[in-house]
């Protein structure tokens, strides 16, 4: 080996590109990624098919199609594909701390903002791609089983928002991973909030003493994610339309990622 010269290349952009290359390799060389994506890509389309087969009629309406191809994302409190990608985001980040990799990674990419941006980019692309693939495979399975989905403009827009929502789940998982540094804690938050905390608040807001919560609860993050997958972009009756809902979910995600950035920037590795 000879003594190398110091290689001075690129700025922040170069650092992000290098970090993206590293993150792609990180995600593609560990088993948990493959397992979680396999579950999403097997379970998602099968659930699409199951929902379609449960429909009383063979021709699916636009609402039916949105429900089926988002794996119930517009009605269920928890998005199956989103939750799996959220776990992937959490595991990707928290394993750095669990196995002491964070120092090696930050030594390789000392610009912490570049590292976070790269990881969120790779996770976002992976999540959006998975969401699309689940919907496409679900649509194919439905068509093969004789249930023809209605792929009109509104449905395609729901699919696009589904990509955004699932990417948001992955970013929430990563953001909470940076904040909590523990995969178990992140998964607990990602399950307890949409399955317990938000439904209880929404239910409580329908009764006298907590009625003041009614204008607020519809903007809760996971409720917003659900509304974002509706076919109505905006509504006139005061209920939340898809466009403001996707904005509310994105804002909640941005808040978590922003707090994570503050922590990562200031904390010791």
């Amino acid at each position: 080996m000879g003594v190398s010269g110091a290689v001075a290349v690129g700025g922040a952009g170069g650092a992000v590109r290098d970090a993206v290359r590293m993150e792609v390799r990180r995600l593609t060389t560990v088993r948990s990624t493959a397992v979680l994506l396999a579950i999403a890509l097997l379970l998602g389309p099968l659930l699409c098919l199951l929902f379609a087969l449960l429909l009383p009629v063979r021709s699916m309406s636009g609402d039916d199609t949105a429900t089926v191809l988002t794996v119930g994302g517009d009605v269920a409190p928890l998005s199956v594909v989103g939750a799996l990608l959220g776990v992937l985001g959490a595991v990707t980040v928290s394993h750095d701390y669990r196995y002491g990799l964070v120092r090696s990674v930050l030594a390789a990419v000392p610009r912490r903002g570049a590292l976070m941006a790269a990881r969120l980019t790779v996770l976002g692309v992976l999540a959006a791609g998975t969401a699309t693939l689940v919907s496409v495979l679900g649509a194919v399975l439905c068509a093969l089983s004789g249930r023809r989905p209605l792929l009109d403009t509104a449905t395609l827009r729901v699919m696009a928002f589904q990509m955004v929502v699932v990417a948001g789940w992955a970013w929430l998982g990563a953001g909470l991973g940076w904040l909590l540094r523990h995969a178990g804690g992140v998964v607990a938050v990602l399950l307890v909030l949409p399955l317990a905390v938000e439904p209880v608040l929404i239910l409580a807001s329908q009764f006298g003493p907590a009625a003041f919560l009614a204008p607020v609860v519809q903007w809760l993050p996971f409720a917003s994610a659900r509304h974002a997958l509706g076919r109505q972009l905006a509504t006139a009756d005061g209920t939340v339309g898809a466009l403001p809902a996707v904005g509310a979910f994105a804002a909640a995600t941005a808040l978590v990622v922003g707090l994570a950035w503050l922590r990562v920037r200031r904390a010791d590795a």
Binding site: G5, D18, R25, T29, G100, R103, R266, A269
Partner: protein
Amino acid sequence: MIAVRHLVKSYGRVEAVRDLSFDVRPGVVTGFLGPNGAGKSTALRLMLGLDRGGGTTTFGDRPYHRIARPLRVVGAVLDAAAFHPTRTARNHLRLLAASAAVDDARVDDVLDLVGLADAADRRPGGFSLGMGQRLALAAALLGDPEYLILDEPANGLDPEGIQWLRHLLEHLAAQGRCVLVSSHLLAEMALLAHDLVVIGQGRLIDAGTVDDFVGRFTRRVAVVRSPQAGLLAAVLHQAGAGPVGQEPDGSLLVVDGDLPTIGDLAARHGIALHELSVRTPSLEEAFLEATASSGQYRAGAWA
């Protein structure tokens, strides 16, 4: 050269590193010594910008965070077990290589260099501490860096591995690289290092060559064995030599004793000598003397 200036780091009210400054010269191995809790690992992390604190460290003329693709310039071993247990050794290195656009062929080169070629496709979760240490060293060497910072790199290595590491680091330093190595193995450090940086309770105690350090913190002792030890001790005392101590086997120890002077005195008084030699002070003795008041964690007396 690595220039470390005014490093400071506190954890709450505890000052882990206090105004620490030193240089690491190219071409030689520099040992970084200190008792447990002295702040060595914290200082190394501060140098790489991994911990948040005060002060600056420059590699050549640039701080670490200003170096593009830093793995090509600075290689570091900070933790022997810093890998995902199910990601193979080769993939672990490939992901780090990707961050610095290092060719994948280099991954196999460094695995071969550290003796892990046969374990390249094994998951490191099952590695011994020594194998983990070799993998960490492979990661540090990945970018063929000009600067190496190694925290306890000999931990877990067997004697053959320690010898191999010593030869490797000597070889790398001889190529003109800056090599900074922290270690608790003082005998090994005495063989390996040319320069030393010694710290205690976060402060610099001494920096310079090993010989200067040993000379500064120990005193030369002459060992004299004689069948007339009592008489010789009295003669030495009268001549102002010493202080003079006595070993259990009867040998006299003359601190700062000059051998020709002792020999001449004995001859003048007709005292037979069976041994007249110098006990070379060890790095360990110098280290213990230098850090006597700096140890944070001391065991109680036993027996």
